[in-house]
């Protein structure tokens, strides 16, 4: 009980989380505003480029790509206090457990990203459509652009395919988050490089070696498509969890020399 209380206490975690949010809320608001501005600009360009064939479902590709790029950028900056020795002191000497500090960072990066970034993008997207329609009306083009739709993905992707996409994104973000626990300098770039190399190597392996020789491949090929996708999703989520656990232990054992 004593040891458990030293690892996690709701009261202490709340105190720590509030103190971190009090310190960081301005940065978070600036990050959100910057992301909105960039999304507004990019979506405007996409709408102008596709104005003849704009479809309410087009934005979903934009959503996934933005989520991935924004997520990599935002999560790649996790644990900013570990980038400098002087700040590391403050991080490790703050009276909360390392687990609580890790969970808070996971919440601030992955949690806020997953909860708010799609909403932010959707809100910005709707605003972009409204602004574009106003401009089109002003220019005498009376046909209104179709509003954004979140149903399109459900129509074109099966639940298995969607879960595979979501799990893939969570895996990539988890690997980047774990990377920020390992590397002190330029963690985002290093992890993106390692991840890229891994994807290339595993694709080569899957395409030329495993597809013909591996018992696993034979086993997986005989599965129904949706079942296979669920197996891939589960595998990716387990790998993501392992990466996060590894990141936690790296933080826990880190020294401030």
């Amino acid at each position: 009980m004593q040891n458990r209380n030293q690892t996690i206490s709701i009261k202490r975690f709340g105190k720590y989380a509030i103190s971190r949010l009090e310190m960081n809320y301005k940065n978070l608001l600036i990050t959100a505003a910057t992301a909105s501005l960039i999304a507004f600009f990019v979506l405007s360009v996409l709408i102008i480029y596709n104005q003849g064939n704009w479809h309410g479902g087009h934005w979903e590709i934009f959503l996934v790509v933005s989520f991935l790029i924004g997520g990599v950028q935002y999560i790649g900056q996790a644990f900013p206090m570990l980038r400098k020795k002087e700040k590391m002191l403050l991080f490790y000497l703050a009276p909360a457990s390392t687990f609580e500090k890790f969970i808070y960072e996971l919440f601030e990066r992955m949690g806020l990203l997953i909860l708010f970034f799609p909403v932010l993008l959707f809100g910005t997207g709707m605003l972009t459509i409204e602004v574009t329609n106003l401009i089109r009306n002003y220019l005498g083009l009376h046909s209104e652009l179709e509003p954004l739709s979140i149903n399109y993905s459900f129509e074109i992707f099966s639940p298995g395919a969607l879960s595979q996409i979501m799990s893939g994104i969570i895996l990539i973000l988890s690997l980047i988050f774990a990377g920020t626990c390992m590397f002190r300098k330029y963690p985002g770039i290093k992890i993106a490089f390692i991840l890229g190399a891994y994807i290339v190597l595993s694709s080569v392996y899957a395409e030329y070696i495993a597809a013909e020789h591996s018992w696993y491949s034979v086993y997986i090929q005989n599965m129904e498509l949706n079942t296979r996708r669920l197996v891939y999703s589960a595998t990716m989520l387990i790998v993501a969890l392992i990466a996060l656990l590894y990141g936690y232990f790296r933080i826990k054992e880190k020294e401030v020399k």
Binding site: Q6, S9, R12, K15, S19, E22, M23, K84, K85, E86, K87, L89, L90, Y92, L93, A94, P95, A96, S97, T98, E100, E253, E255, V256, K257
Partner: protein, 270 residues
């Protein structure tokens, strides 16, 4: 409060900073941790604070293994490092955010020390000079009333009046349940402040005595010419020679710098 035994540690396998270093320190004192540059004073403080792991040694600080970094350990320890970065917020906000983590924090004490140091609490910490930031951090550390206070070169960057105030506030702020460990190579700055001396040299604690014991055992005198007999250690100074002689049991004023030099030159004064 601090029990360290058989501490062997080095940043490189080829160079051991500590060789079987052992210390025991009890609460109720302001202890000066003295040593030449690079002797490992800051590293020792970091090991005590749980920032560096030394798995082969037996280390207990407040009955806990420091590197486990338990919250109950961290809320009773405050380290003022030599170099630090403070967040870009006002002093008031810093206090509001951080004070709640320390169960014995005293707002009145903080205000009193801040007043003595002449710090303006409305300013942002980033607008302060390094010396002003350090004074604030020292004030905050003392106000936490933590059982263990660690100061790494606290007088570096302080002006002369602030050094005097530092000595005054520290001496008046600490109680018998606390242990204050001050690492410094500026021996003069901690004179009239510390009541125990630890000297670290070549990987070992070579001196560990209370100033009271030293003042009874030894006499610290000056002379216009070198002593031929009876001097344990002597060195030239502006007025002639500074000398350590065996004491006669009556307490004398300890010249910490002379004592430090004697120990570093291999004189056994334990």
């Amino acid at each position: 409060m601090i029990q360290i035994s058989n501490l062997n540690f080095g940043y490189r396998p080829t160079f051991q900073l500590f060789n079987n270093l052992s210390i025991t320190q009890e609460p109720g004192s302001i202890t000066g941790l003295l040593g030449v540059n690079g002797s490992g004073k800051s590293t020792l403080l970091k090991i005590i604070a749980g920032l560096i792991d030394a798995p082969q040694a037996s280390i207990k600080v407040m009955n806990k293994a420091p590197f486990r970094r338990y919250p109950s350990f961290l809320e009773e320890l405050f380290l003022v490092p030599e170099d630090f970065i403070l967040p870009e917020i006002t002093i008031r906000k810093y206090i509001k955010i951080n004070a709640k983590f320390y169960p014995n924090f005293s707002q009145e004490k903080l205000e009193e020390i801040i007043f003595q140091f002449g710090i303006n609490t409305r300013h942002k910490l980033t607008n302060f000079s390094h010396g002003q930031k350090k004074k604030f951090l020292i004030a905050f550390a003392l106000s936490t009333n933590c059982k263990l206070l660690l100061f790494d070169e606290p007088t570096n960057g302080l002006d002369i009046p602030s050094k005097t105030i530092f000595r005054q506030v520290l001496a008046s702020s600490v109680n018998e349940n606390q242990l204050v460990l001050i690492s410094t190579h500026q021996v003069k700055d901690v004179e009239n402040l510390i009541d125990k001396i630890l000297i670290i040299n070549q990987g070992k604690i070579v001196f560990n005595q209370s100033l009271w014991d030293v003042s009874e055992k030894y006499a610290f005198t000056t002379s216009t010419k070198p002593e031929k007999e009876n001097a344990i250690y002597q060195e030239p100074s502006a007025g002639g020679e500074k000398i350590i002689k065996p004491g006669n049991g009556a307490p004398s004023t300890v010249d910490i710098e002379l004592l430090f030099n004697a120990v570093i030159h291999g004189i056994d004064l334990n």
